[in-house]
Structures are given as structure tokens and as C-alpha cells.
């Protein structure tokens, strides 16, 4: 009996779909972003405009700052929670799972409008309120990333060993669990960071200015410049993510050597 394999046709279909939807538009955008003055020839003119544009560094810095804060806050909140859920709180797990998927289901627009009123007043007047929104939006992804990696380690054994050697809970989490689930943590950090950097809806509805909202305004002056901005942010994001991935891999290897 000859076995009919679906593997190769599926791989070919999936990768050509990926090329069509991601690579071709990006390649086109990159081509246009390198057009010279009045659309003739090729030059860096659009990127020069971008770097010298008003508020470029300021807003980029704001976005990076908020994204870093959101990533850190998210991990501080979610790592202990997920450890607890996987160790002792199996009963609450489906409830938390459900709570964490809510941000995917509740329209972001509704979330922005409702939650803005619910925020404490001193937060409503500072751009740091966005950090909390970013954390909420990233919850579904963080939950899954951390949950998958926690299920692959022998959590109970690790915790019992570390506790019986006299380590406190905080020490156990920082010194034992965090290195063990480094992959999941990097993934969670990536996702939060990427989401926060690109978040537009909430930021614009609450009238804050970050890199994405600045981009929209700046794009209205110079269309080729706008394309340059999107290529720049895309390439920047990819570069950033690869750097983090590289670092986390190095770290993981080091842990193995230490053992």
C-alpha cells in the first residue's frame, strides 16, 4: 500500500502563502522607501527625513520606555501567578485561563473607553497608565507562553528541592524557576514588548503620543517617508527580537555548563 503524504504539498502551500502576504508587500515597501527626490532614482533621502523629523527620537523613546515597563510588570505579575497555578492552584487554572483570554475577546475600543474611567485619577493624567493597558492586552499571550514552558519542566521536584534546601519562595522563583523556563519568559517578554511598541488603538483613543500615533501624523506630510517609517519599524522590531533571542540562547547554554 502506497502511503499518500500530505506533508510536502502542505509545506509548499503554507510557505508560498507566507511569501505572498509578508515578504512581497515588505519588499515593495522597501523599494519605494528608497526612492529618491520626487520619486526618481534611489537614495536615503526618506530615511534622512525620518531621522530629522520633529519628535522622532522623543516618541521612539517614549514607546520603548513604556514597552520595557509593560514587559517587566507583566513578568512580575504573571511568573509567580503561573507558578502558583501549576503547583497548587489547579482549581483556579481554568478561571485564570478564561480571564486571560478576555482581552482577546473584549473589543479593545470598549476596553479603552471603560477602563479609562475606572483608572485611579492620578494615573489617568500620566502616560504611564498605558503601561497597565499594555499589560492587559498582552495577558493572553503571556499566559500561554509561560504555561507551555512551565509544563515542560518538573516544577514540583524543582520547588521541593529548593525549598527543602532552605530557599525562600522569592529566591526559589528567581534562582530556580526563572532559569528553568527562560524560553517561555523570553517569549512572553517578546510578545509584550512587540505589542506595546505597536499599540495604536488605546493610545490614540486616550490622546497620548507614542511612536505609532506619531507615525500616523508624520505620515500625512510625506508618503514615501511614511513607507520608510514602516520599513524602519519592521526591520527594527526584527533586529531587536533577534538580539534578544540570541542573548537568551547564550544564557541557556551557560546554565547547562554551570550544571
Amino acid at each position: 500500500m502506497k502511503k499518500f503524504s500530505l506533508k510536502w504539498p502542505l509545506i509548499i502551500i503554507a510557505s508560498s502563502f507566507a511569501v505572498l502576504t509578508f515578504v512581497v508587500p515588505l519588499y515593495g515597501a522597501a523599494l519605494y522607501s528608497f526612492r529618491g527626490d520626487s520619486g526618481k532614482g534611489h537614495s536615503w533621502v526618506n530615511y534622512q527625513w525620518l531621522i530629522h523629523a520633529d519628535g522622532f527620537y522623543l516618541n521612539l523613546f517614549t514607546s520603548l520606555k513604556l514597552a520595557v515597563l509593560a514587559g517587566v510588570l507583566n513578568l512580575v505579575l504573571m511568573v509567580p501567578t503561573m507558578v502558583y497555578l501549576n503547583l497548587k492552584g489547579q482549581n483556579f487554572k481554568s478561571l485564570i485561563d478564561f480571564l486571560c483570554i478576555l482581552p482577546l475577546i473584549i473589543p479593545v475600543v470598549s476596553l479603552a473607553i471603560g477602563a479609562q474611567v475606572a483608572m485611579p485619577e492620578f494615573l489617568q493624567n500620566s502616560e504611564y497608565e498605558l503601561v497597565f493597558f499594555f499589560v492587559i492586552i498582552a495577558l493572553p499571550y503571556t499566559y500561554r507562553a509561560l504555561d507551555t514552558s512551565l509544563q515542560t519542566v518538573a516544577l514540583k521536584t524543582l520547588v521541593e528541592a529548593s525549598r527543602s534546601l532552605g530557599a525562600s519562595w522569592i529566591r526559589t522563583i528567581i534562582r530556580v524557576i526563572v532559569p528553568a523556563i527562560r524560553g517561555g519568559i523570553t517569549g512572553a517578554l517578546f510578545l509584550t514588548f512587540a505589542l506595546s511598541i505597536g499599540e495604536y488603538t488605546i493610545t490614540s483613543l486616550l490622546h497620548w503620543e507614542t511612536f505609532p500615533t506619531w507615525t500616523v501624523v508624520a505620515a500625512q506630510q510625506n508618503i514615501l517617508g511614511a513607507i520608510a517609517i514602516s520599513v524602519f519599524s519592521f526591520v527594527g522590531a526584527i533586529a531587536l527580537l533577534s538580539i534578544i533571542a540570541l542573548f537568551s540562547k547564550k544564557g541557556a547554554r551557560q546554565v547547562e555548563v554551570d550544571e
Partner: protein, 122 residues
């Protein structure tokens, strides 16, 4: 979609494929009679999540249509902005609540599908 769907694919057990092969099924038959029926609830769950995502899309819709297509999130955006029409923020709030109501249905569908999916997992 990938996030919700990956655990489902990982939950497909090798034994099932082996069992169906040993009973004389080709891999096409395996997918048609075993794989796809088991994955079906996950498909439905992912569908509801995607529906909710598409229903609430704001940034993409706004960037692509420049506000010419009257989608609910964009209308809410303009109402709450108060740029074009003032004193209508309440209407925007009401529309936002309406969106949550629609999203509740999607959520119910998602929970139902999750329930069905859990049947094959232990």
C-alpha cells in the same frame, strides 16, 4: 489562531494515527475520519476568537480605509474623540457596551468549543 490551535495539534496522539493505519486507512482517510473530527471543536473555538478579533479591529481598519467605511470601532473612535461631533461621547460609550454584548456571544461560543476540545485531553 496559532496560539489556540497549537495545543490542539500537539494533543493529536500518535497512537490514533498508528491505529488507523494498521486498520488499513491511508493518511488522507486518517485526516478525514479521525484528525479533522477531533480538531473540529478547536477550529470552532479559533473561529470565534478570530471573529472577536476582526470585530474589534481598529488600527488596521482605520489605516486602510481612512474612516470611510462605517465600522463600529471607528465610529466609537470618532465619537469619543469629539473632533467632528461634540457632546456625543455617551453614544460612543453605549456603542462600546453593545460591542461587549456581541463579544459575549463570541465568548460563549469559544467556551463551548473549549469544553468540547477538552474531551480528548487528559
Amino acid at each position: 489562531m496559532v496560539l489556540v490551535f497549537k495545543p490542539a495539534i500537539a494533543g493529536l496522539r500518535r497512537e490514533w494515527e498508528e491505529a488507523s493505519t494498521s486498520l488499513g486507512a491511508s493518511s488522507l482517510t486518517y485526516w478525514r475520519r479521525v484528525g479533522i473530527p477531533i480538531l473540529f471543536p478547536s477550529f470552532i473555538g479559533a473561529f470565534f476568537l478570530l471573529f472577536a478579533g476582526g470585530f474589534s479591529a481598529y488600527a488596521t481598519a482605520r489605516a486602510l480605509t481612512v474612516g470611510t467605511v462605517p465600522l463600529v470601532p471607528i465610529i466609537i473612535g470618532t465619537l469619543v474623540d469629539g473632533n467632528v461631533i461634540s457632546d456625543q461621547a455617551n453614544l460612543g460609550d453605549a456603542l462600546a457596551v453593545g460591542m461587549i454584548v456581541v463579544a459575549t456571544f463570541a465568548m460563549a461560543g469559544y467556551i463551548w468549543a473549549q469544553h468540547k476540545t477538552a474531551k480528548w485531553r487528559n
